[in-house]
């Protein structure tokens, strides 16, 4: 089912929780709503589900205006952060509940629940009450309950945030696979960008109630349209420097006031210069910066901090007033105040207008 949000707005008194969001979700697509806490993700989801009334704007399912349609008639399945299983019902009764309300015969109920439960690997847990299930098992029951009624739209509100890291990984894969196999249009709310990047076909980045971007994970990562997106997507986050771009002997160089100087690809540099800006913001991801062990690079500075992340160390090198974050092999044993030389791979360098925060490369 195709879902369209048009100027969708929700105000709670003076608070604007959702601010004129426009979004077109294709049939069968898996869309993630990604944004920091309190940005209005849940509110948007609850409006789509019909639990909140929009203050303004429209919600369309397959072209049909849904604003006045009560949740019971929207045929959506929803999985909540707290699972929201009915505590006095067994797993079976929980999953059969939507079918029972729809007036399905007992036999049909049992058959459908059994099928979904087997698919979810919880067939042996159906007699238990939620209190007798682990978090992961409850999550599967909740997912099963959303699936049994064969909804046209699946809504997930941070369904994995209460699970441990390993289980989250497993469930991530399972939800993705199920969604893919069943082909149900899905909206998945999360503030975990790894979740969004790995699961979603497209990601809607929301900040302070406003839609910042709606793109594929690759586009968000490699072709960020705003400074906010560039800084928000990716971990550790992108490095930003205020630079001016100079041309020397046919090559382009970006130079910061602090002394950082890197060669940048001419195609990107020309786009950055096209606006005629004196200074631009340059963005480079930590993984595109290496330590130069030959010591020939002119970009060098003292190590200000070292954070061991396990596989890598995240180090912060100060070049003049600029901070450069990069990942290095822990075996290199970089220590505080070591002077290190840095090599920049600028093939994926980004440029932004410092005033508007818009990308100078992508529109």
């Amino acid at each position: 089912m195709e879902v369209v949000l048009r100027n969708l707005t929700k105000k709670f008194g003076q608070v604007v929780a959702v601010d004129h969001i426009n979004l077109e979700i294709r049939s069968g697509e898996f869309v993630a709503f990604l944004g920091p806490s309190g940005c209005g993700k849940t509110t948007t989801l609850l409006m789509v589900a019909g639990i909140y009334k929009p203050t303004e704007g429209e919600i369309l399912f397959d072209g049909r205006l849904m604003n006045k349609v009560p949740p019971q008639q929207r045929n959506v399945g929803m999985v909540f952060q707290s699972y929201a299983l009915y505590p006095h019902m067994t797993a079976f009764q929980n999953m059969a509940f939507p079918l029972k309300l729809a007036g399905m015969s007992q036999m049909m109920q049992a058959e459908r629940v059994k099928r979904v439960a087997d698919m979810m690997g919880i067939g042996h847990l159906l007699d238990r009450k939620p209190g007798e299930l682990s978090g992961g098992q409850q999550q599967r029951v909740a997912l099963g309950r959303a699936l049994v009624k064969e909804p046209d739209l699946l809504l997930f509100d941070e369904p994995l945030s209460n699970l441990d890291a390993r289980l989250r990984l497993v469930m991530r894969g399972e939800i993705k696979r199920l969604q893919h196999e069943l082909g149900i249009t899905s909206i998945y709310v999360t503030h975990d960008q790894v979740e969004a990047m790995t699961m979603a076909d497209r990601i809607a980045v929301i900040n302070e109630g406003k839609l910042q971007a709606f793109d594929t994970p690759d586009d968000l990562y490699d072709r960020p349209k705003t400074l906010f997106i560039a800084g928000f997507v990716g971990n550790p986050p992108m490095n930003f420097f205020t630079v001016s771009i100079r041309r020397e002997n046919g090559d382009y160089f970006a130079e910061s006031e602090g002394g950082l100087r890197v060669k940048v690809p001419s195609e990107r540099a020309e786009k950055a210069l096209a606006g005629g800006l004196e200074q631009v913001i340059m963005g480079i991801r930590p993984e595109d910066i290496q330590m130069d062990e030959s010591g020939t690079s002119e970009n060098k500075g003292p190590v200000f901090s070292v954070e061991p992340l396990g596989r890598d160390d995240l180090i912060d090198v100060h070049i003049g007033p600029d901070s450069v974050f990069l990942l290095v092999d822990p075996l290199k044993r970089v220590r505080l105040d070591d002077i290190v030389h840095l090599e920049f791979d600028t093939a994926k360098v980004q440029f932004f207008d410092p005033e508007t925060g818009k990308s100078l490369l992508w529109t």
């Binding site: 609850l46 589900a49 019909g50 639990i51 949740p71 019971q72 959506v76 399945g77 929803m78 909540f80 952060q81 707290s82 929201a84 299983l85 009915y86 505590p87 006095h88 019902m89 509940f97 939507p98 309300l101 729809a102 309950r145 009624k149 809504l155």
Partner: protein, 327 residues
Amino acid sequence: MATIQKAQEAVAIPAEVAREPKPRKLTWTPYAFMLPSAILVILFFFIPALILFYISMTNQSSANFSNPDFIGLQNFKTILNDRFVGKIFQNTVFYVVMTLTFFNVGLALIISLVTTHIERRAGIFFRTIWMLPRLTPSVVYIMMWKRIAAGPPFGILNQFLAPFGFEGVNWLSAQGNPWLFVILSNGFIGASFGMIIFTSAIESIPKELMRAALVDGASILQRIRYVILPELRWPLLFVVTYQSLSLLTSFELIWLLTDGGPGLYRTEVWALTAYKRALANYFGNAQWGYASAWAVFLVIIGVILAVVYMRYFRFNELVEEPKIEVL
């Protein structure tokens, strides 16, 4: 440094003491915690009950206050042979069951459900209004009911009914419906207790649970039936238990409204009889011994009911295992 100190401490404690210091110290802790309530129960229930049992076996009255005779079970025989004891027992059961069902539980549940499903401030406003009867002094409250029920030409109810061609009647008289007013006046106060309990229970149902029910396709009645009521199981049992026991021993509103009348014992309940025998005898002769025997029945019925409720409703399931395993 710290490790050295620890090591020294370990050496300093004799092995015997070190092995089992905790259980010995903690054995009395649970009892210490129970002590205050135990004192209250003993002081205000067990001792009065024992005194009551004793007095019920004497002929103590205002005539022989200082040296009553012990007369065994004589008082109880008198009660059971009383011409009206059956009537009074029936009245009591009727009064408790009707008030409990329709008001203390029924109306309370309806008010809670309605006021939690309308705009929040309006809900609070209505619930506050429902608290007012409880805050009004009983005498004033019953005076208002008497005005409402009064016969023509004064009664407020009659004036409302007059336009419909109703002739008017004193509602508290034998021609009216005294029971209706006894139950109404008690119920309007009684409902607020359950209302508070149920409202807080409804409001503590997780929001996401209600949302899940909405998405699952439940109508408002189905949400009440399948989500809210099951979540209210314990509050319901609590209110039934508590209120049936307190209705059993309550009489003051009936006393003020009908005084057990009209006529002979039309609305007389057990507790009212006990009260009258003890303190408000027609001839100024307070029969404490005899009245105590009436009260003994109430104590016994109350205890039996309490035990039945505890067993039947499995109240011990309400008591959670301690979260911290210290005791």
